[in-house]
Symmetry: C2
Subunit: 310 residues, 2 copies
């Protein structure tokens, strides 16, 4: 077996940016700070998972379905390790997202989702390239392991939080955070923040089984539109997640504005979910020291300006 | 003499945020990274100077004229040290800036600048409060010393830059950077970035004397509208500044957009001056490793959205 290609250490995931939030804490009445992944390579925490996948698999070709942050992340991670990467995206994806995947070195495979699901197209490609690794954006032990590095950074803080609040889509981020926090001697809880209109994870916790949405939510937090939790994530989250806050759309928008205006942080809507959870459930966090994860910053400029102008 | 009040060490200026810029470096054809002061307390590098002033003076009351970042910075620094702070601001200042000074604990003294200059009003207050310290936003050895802490952080990098590019208004930031870089064993040059419509510093270097603008420029980079370099700064800059790039208004706006879109950094126009200098003078920096200082992020939301929409 040949040596696995090595990426330069300078290309490894960068440490998160911890930011204390004096003005925003005062505004919300909750003492909190951010772990901001907005400056992570490719603009979101997804690079942590993508890097771990590209580093650990022996395959030289990765196929993934993603119209969002994982697509960019896996494309860039594959380039760093000299691997080929094919990203299946809906033909009606925002052009800036298609361009971003290409800019990071990925091949974009456009699928007309009115005729064929993305999953079906991945199946076709998998048959065409049997030696390729099919990467899930959120349901893969390597993804959980990659995301856990963020939890390890948080748990290593001199003054760690009582609770970490993070967005929930497929559950890969919270599963990683839980995994890391359980390994720490510190008692750190993890709470999810999920759009109220895409609350399959909250319903799953209530019903103690994976509940799937019937149709994809059109929540502004597009990173949380996933239909259901990943199975690997569910095994971790079902017993260990300290609840989920269900966040209305308007609170998500307000979270984006507050982060921008009072903390100078550019967050995509999904990235603002945790702060938005503090808006709608401040009593729950009042007596605690809270760390909110801002998961990413990849947002269309026009859409962002529209939120600011609300 | 009573003990000087001590601020909590947690309130000291926070370390700058270093961010490498792979996409933006590629876009501009210059290898550079940021030292971003957008997450500095009160949203700009000015807190470094303000904190140093409030910490080192023995007076218990500070009077300053500032319609911008120094006003917020000195108000907050004085509060940390239990000192009174009066900030003289034009009566037609943007309300959000007046509110910000008050939110940080400062008293705002509004002056109708069509009837009396800010300097004259400071003179009146100085007569009224003879025991107060009159703080300059940019021309004071304590300001230079405070700003030098940023240069010390840059010079201490494992892989330091060949040149630091930073905005020039009154010259306090570049004077601080030069001071720190000269103390380092590293050979680090400092280059200024100044609005072309407020180019008194560039003209001063050419004419080898402090040149003052006749009227205040209306440059979008409002932190650089100062009429002339401070005298203390000039003594340092005249022999040690490695030139100044004069930046047209449109490049400043493009700098704001590039930082937001390709680097997820919210910069106020003055804060984008250094990156804008790379746009207009890329040849000058081509073979160098460059550090651009993003000096602050305090910008009106509507004005920012308008720049994005250009």
């Amino acid at each position: 077996m040949s040596m696995a290609p090595q990426a330069n250490v300078a290309d490894a995931p960068r440490a998160t940016t911890f930011l204390d939030m004096p003005r925003l804490s005062k505004h919300l009445g909750v003492e909190f700070f951010l772990a901001s992944e907005t400056f992570q390579r490719t603009g979101s925490f997804k690079f942590r998972a993508a890097y771990n996948v590209a580093a650990k698999i022996h395959q030289h070709h990765v196929i993934a379905a993603s119209s969002g942050n994982f697509g960019q992340a896996i494309a860039y991670a594959c380039r760093l390790f000299g691997k080929r990467c094919t990203v299946v995206m809906p033909v009606n994806s925002v052009p800036v997202k298609i361009e971003a995947v290409r800019a990071y070195g990925g091949e974009v495979d456009l699928v007309d989702t009115s005729r064929m699901t993305r999953t079906a197209r991945v199946g076709q490609l998998s048959a065409e390239f049997p030696d390729a690794y099919i990467a899930s954006a959120y349901d893969d032990p390597l993804v959980i392991e990659g995301n856990a590095t963020l939890g390890t950074e948080i748990a290593a803080l001199e003054n760690p939080p009582d609770v970490v609040v993070a967005p929930v889509g497929g559950g890969g981020l919270t599963a990683g955070l839980v995994t890391a926090c359980r390994k720490s001697v510190r008692q750190i809880k993890v709470t999810g923040a999920e759009p109220a209109t895409a609350n399959d994870a909250a319903r799953s916790l209530r019903e103690r089984r994976i509940v799937s949405q019937d149709v994809e939510s059109q929540t502004i937090a597009d990173g949380a539109r996933v239909l259901s939790l990943g199975r690997h994530n569910w095994e971790i989250l079902r017993e260990n997640l300290d609840g989920i806050v269900e966040v209305p759309e308007e609170a998500i928008r307000e979270g984006v504005r507050l982060l921008f205006n009072l903390a100078h942080v550019k967050a995509e809507p999904t990235g603002a979910l945790a702060v938005a959870a503090l808006i709608v459930a401040s009593d729950r966090f009042r007596a605690l020291r809270v760390c909110c994860v801002v998961s990413g910053a990849n947002v269309d400029t026009g859409a962002f300006a529209a939120i600011l102008a609300d």
